[in-house]
Symmetry: C2
Amino acid sequence: MAVTAPREPKQDRSRATRQRLLESTIECLAASGWSATTVAVVAEHAGVSRGAAQHHFPTREDLITAALDHMFDTRMSWAREEAESVPDDANRTEWVVLRLVDWFSGPLFKAALHVWTAAAADETLKQRIVPLEAKFGREAHRTAVAALGVDDADPVTHRLVQATLDLARGLGLADVLTDDAQRRHQIATQWAATLDTALRPR
Amino acid sequence: MAVTAPREPKQDRSRATRQRLLESTIECLAASGWSATTVAVVAEHAGVSRGAAQHHFPTREDLITAALDHMFDTRMSWAREEAESVPDDANRTEWVVLRLVDWFSGPLFKAALHVWTAAAADETLKQRIVPLEAKFGREAHRTAVAALGVDDADPVTHRLVQATLDLARGLGLADVLTDDAQRRHQIATQWAATLDTALRPR
């Protein structure tokens, strides 16, 4: 009964520590911004020793890019699971647009915004963030296309899906200083109706 | 001939100094971000002594909010002048959408983005920025409505104009780390066509 290899629990602990650090990074970034989110602050927030945190992530840049990448992948997996329950009826476009807009006003977007903005004025950070941004853009587009069930090979459809992601990004930005949920819902619902008409097979 | 009051040139110099400080603030913010944009840095960039800069703007918050407010007002005046030459034909919607999208990818938007993001993690700054953001939103909306020549009392029209501004904001954000001009032009042109159909009198 007690013959499990001692390595397993240690690896599990290490994985759990890593996971807590990644989640804490997003929470700290979203709440306090780039400058305040140091490895020491994140370690304390996660209840992990600074040494253990630095063992996993030697620099702040390592920690922050790993956190954004991991949390984005997790969010996209949820999105793909959610998309399996997408209604295949007249409400499909609205269902997808409202969900897209929700993602872009959550803590992960707010965390990313702080990092993107810091990277705009920091060439070294920018080199690390640009490929991440490209990956996020590609995967968010692919997920949106699958959820909408449209043909991305059609150039008009491709651009309208892109526009929807750009709108969601703009609405996310409008939510950073004040709670914009009510206005956002109205805009997203209107956009969904206009998009649905425009996407209808011509 | 030489009886002009000595006060006038001094006031002119003071106004010119103030103007240079405001313009330099936007340039510094757009290029180097919030933390790097101190009164001392802006004064040096503007070729003004630090004492003179502090005479006009006692704190960094004073300088930065005055700069955003003044530059936004200037930009809106240009926009209203530009709007007088808006083509009153089939190209009107595209003309307006392309210009809106241009404003949101210029240095003023990039400067504002750094300040908005800093304000998200700084309650004192946020108190000063929130009314400014509300004013910018209202005036940009009013200017867009006038340029499009549409009836903002119609709720669908109102929301579609709002959506266009949110899309422009999202496209502006997508341009912060990499030059996104080509993709942006495609998205803006496509949205203009979709918007034009949706705005046509029902």
